[in-house]
Amino acid sequence: MSRPPTAWPDMLAAALVGAARSGTPADALLDAAAVQALRRRAGVALVHGVRPPSPAPHDDAPPVGPAAAARADALLALDRPPRETTPARDTAGRVELLAEWLAAAGAARRRLPAELLPALLEAGRRHRELRPLVAPVAGPLAGWLAKQRPDWAYASAAAPMEADVDDSAWELGRIEHRVAYLTGRRRRDPARARELLATGWDEESPDDRAALLGALGTGLSGDDEALLERALDDRRRQVRAVAADLLGRLAGGAYARRMAERARACVDLGDPAWIGINPPDACDRSMTRDGIAPRPPAGIGERAWWLEEILARTPLGHWPAPGELLARSISDEWRVTVRRGLARAAAAQRDAGWAAALADPLAADVARRGHPEDRLLLEALYDILPAEDLAARATAVLGRGLPEATAVGVEHVLALCPRPWPPAVAEAVFAAIEEHLGRRDAGWRVAGLCELAGLRLPAGVADRALALLERLRTGRPNDPALPIGERLAATLRFRHDMLEELR
């Protein structure tokens, strides 16, 4: 038996093969290792020649107070919500609360404490709607951090939005990355992007063709017509549908002229007070090629359906001004079809003027018949109306009572209203809640409304909500609607406290 090694590497080698084979007594090896172990642990291996990063630019803006900072910390935990501290039930609600915090702090020109910035940048990476709110509360530190993590590049002013998708994505990436890449190229150089798509067009799989063609919606112009017309003859129906939709948005193109020609044949505007209707007798090949579905959905006649399809794809510029056209009389048989066709056109072409003119009559239809298709169409019209217009509509429809208001999708209108709600909307909503909360027949209607109201009512009404809750509590302590009211009051109280902290 030899003496145990004294140098650490020899010792380690002996230990690895085993004391028996290395010819060292195990006890002696252990003792030697013990001494070395202590020495190694005490002599910490420091790293040398570390070059610290250049410091972030100085920022003199004052940070928010400790209470506001603690609340932001809780709100930033979007995925693992501290349930006791944040009232919102789902991620969307929490994102909304965070957005309100950020907007209020930004308006007060206060900064988020630096240690919370990484969490905020991460939240902004995953929730695009937060991104515009990041810069005012983050200050120059955001850009400095973003330089160290490409994921956060959106926060540095210089970085283009598409920086995260590089050229290899087009050749090798998954389809969603390729679409993102193409969309980015379209934004900067539509012609080059179109050429890129056209070059490989025939080699793409049908599914990919449909997905990629949609990217032409960005920066769409008359120059794209040739490629889109080619796509109209595609084997795959989805590709044809995308092409037809995009062509419908090109007001001056051949497609638009063809549709206008069909519309002129069906709709007679000769009499200034009358709309004469002569729907198509058949759906010919050229109509099918232009995206008109030959088979109507259940409950609609063939000719009415073809008429609706033509109207839905005709450029709205073809018609007289909305007020003038809708003021004309029309036979009862065709009124609903024409209205639907025009509404679909308004939604597809994102024409706010037509949408405003059509929303009220369509809402009346929906309230009377309650057809789900019509309700979706109505919501599509609301989507393109300006927020102030929507606020007025919401107030008006709530004035007619909650049942009718929910029937025409008032929640959708309210969700699109400016936040927090303007006083008139807030009053109308509060009145509706006050009237219906606790009424057995209105349970689900009020629940949805309260959920939204908690996030959108001005936080100043927190005390009124509390008073309402108290009345309900004393009047009917076992009412099943009580938790709904409690949540409403709690959410408003939370937002009220939150905004107070940021004053």
């Binding site: 010792m11 380690l12 230990a15 690895l16 093969v17 085993g18 004391a19 028996a20 084979r21 195990a26 006890d27 090896l29 252990l30 003792d31 290792a33 013990a34 001494v35 070395q36 172990a37 202590l38 190694r40 642990r41 005490a42 002599g43 910490v44 291996a45 420091l46 790293v47 040398h48 020649g49 570390v50 070059r51 610290p52 990063p53 250049s54 410091p55 972030a56 400790p66 501290p82 006791e84 501290t85 404490p113 630096a114 240690e115 919370l116 910035l117 990484p118 530190l141 400095w144 951090l145 160290q148």
Partner: protein
């Protein structure tokens, strides 16, 4: 104040109660014969108002309400009022004085008991406990001797195959040490499994275990300080009253970091303190079983004027006496340059070779990446490596913003784990 609350429900309830409505009478009393005490009468669901009383030095509290939560919402509410300046000075009513008197009485009786324990106490009880202690010592000694043989066996066979052994290999020895009533040594053996894939680290750990086992066999020949540390590491129990009987160190103890870690079924909370004047490091250890919550009374960013009694390892402490309520920190004192901090660690290690964590307060360091590893760099380019398990320390990076800051952390064999940083005027938890 609200960090004292056992849960968020109590926090919310306390906020709601802190207004004027519920309180019939509140006051702040204190003087020569009475520590500073906040008290109040709170109208709850009982016809009789609840009597709430908080001794601000501890804090210790009582409330006549039936709540099982501790502290209850009334206690928290009155503390909130007090911190908002909503409690006027007033003479203490009789029930407040009675409570404080009963507490003082209990404290003195506990002190008496300690004296009794220290001075020998009744002979019969002592003889019995001595017998138990002897039996236990024999079992531990046998266990440690077995550990020593086992360690030699590991080296005899070689460490090359260790990574393929799996948990049972280590757990068997650990279980035998638990049976031998040496839980500290058992834990060290169980932890070997984590290093099975890293022969270098494994050899270091085996060497340290060898120090423990062979040291225990000649305990009587060791210096008493080292012997006491060794007994503690092996896992021989140290009674709280023995610790409290030792000399107390008074200082303004800065609370610089908290870290919770699971250990078996328990959660272990480590609160790291540093004396503002003496610069000594201290560790307050607490445990919570499943479903239990920690009492949060040591909040990072505060300092506590208190007497601490040290365990034999010179790090773990018990709080013997609080002289004043915790106050917010206005600066961190006792921060050291990297080299001095490392020297201090080496010293601590020589007193306790089995030291697994050591609190460091590093002055003027910048988080920086060197190679693929993050470290805290001093201005001369030397860097203290961070524990890779920490990942990229984004919160610290953002807090420092590329400028030197004071960082408090836990030093382990894997590197530093940052726990807090001093940013201008406040302590940021990381």
């Amino acid at each position: 104040m609200l960090s004292l609350a056992p849960d968020a429900t109590a926090q919310r309830a306390a906020r709601a109660l802190a207004g004027d409505k519920a309180w019939c009478e509140v006051g702040l009393s204190g003087g020569d014969d009475l520590p500073p005490t906040v008290w109040g009468l709170c109208q709850g669901s009982d016809p009789q108002p609840y009597q709430v009383c908080v001794d601000l030095t501890e804090p210790a509290y009582t409330c006549s309400c039936p709540s099982r939560k501790f502290p209850c919402k009334h206690t928290l509410a009155i503390l909130l009022r007090w911190s908002a300046g909503g409690v006027p000075d007033a003479p203490a009513p009789l029930w407040v004085r009675e409570w404080q008197a009963s507490r003082a009485d209990r404290a003195s009786r506990a002190a008496d008991r300690q004296d009794v324990a220290r001075n020998g106490g009744e002979s019969s009880g002592r003889a019995a406990s001595e017998k138990t202690a002897l039996r236990r010592a024999a079992r531990v000694a046998a266990g440690m001797a077995e550990l020593d043989r086992w360690l030699a066996d590991q080296l005899r066979g070689g460490l090359a195959g260790a990574s393929r052994l799996g948990y049972p290999h280590w757990d068997v020895m650990a279980a035998r040490l638990v049976d031998a009533q040496a839980p500290g040594a058992a834990r060290l053996v169980r932890n070997l499994a984590d290093h099975a894939g890293d022969p270098e680290r494994l050899l270091v750990e085996l060497g340290l275990l060898r120090l423990l086992a062979s040291g225990f066999c000649r305990l009587d020949s060791l210096p008493p300080e080292l012997a006491a540390t060794l007994r503690l590491r092996v896992g021989l129990p140290v009674a709280a009253e023995d610790v409290l009987a030792g000399p107390a160190v008074r200082d303004r103890w800065q609370v610089l970091g908290v870290r919770d870690e699971p250990e078996g079924d328990l959660m272990v909370r480590r609160v790291w303190l540093r004396g503002a004047e003496g610069g000594r490091a201290a560790l307050v250890l607490s445990f919570a079983g499943p479903g239990q919550v920690f009492v949060r009374d040591l909040v990072p960013g505060t300092a506590l004027d208190a007497d601490l009694c040290f365990y034999p390892d010179h790090v773990r402490v018990l709080i013997a006496r609080r002289h004043a309520p915790a106050a917010a920190l206005t600066e961190v004192r006792g921060a050291r340059p990297v080299s001095a901090a490392m020297r201090e660690y080496a010293q601590a290690l020589s007193a306790d070779p089995w030291l697994e964590r050591w609190p460091m307060v590093l002055a003027s360091v910048v988080p920086a990446e060197a190679g693929r590893r993050w470290c805290l760099a001093a201005d001369d380019g030397t860097g203290v490596p961070l524990d890779p398990a920490v990942g990229t320390p984004w919160r610290l990076i953002a807090t420092a913003a590329g400028r030197p800051v004071t960082v408090c952390g836990e030093w382990t064999a894997a590197g530093l784990r940052p726990l807090s940083a001093w940013a201008g005027d406040r302590l940021v938890r990381l």
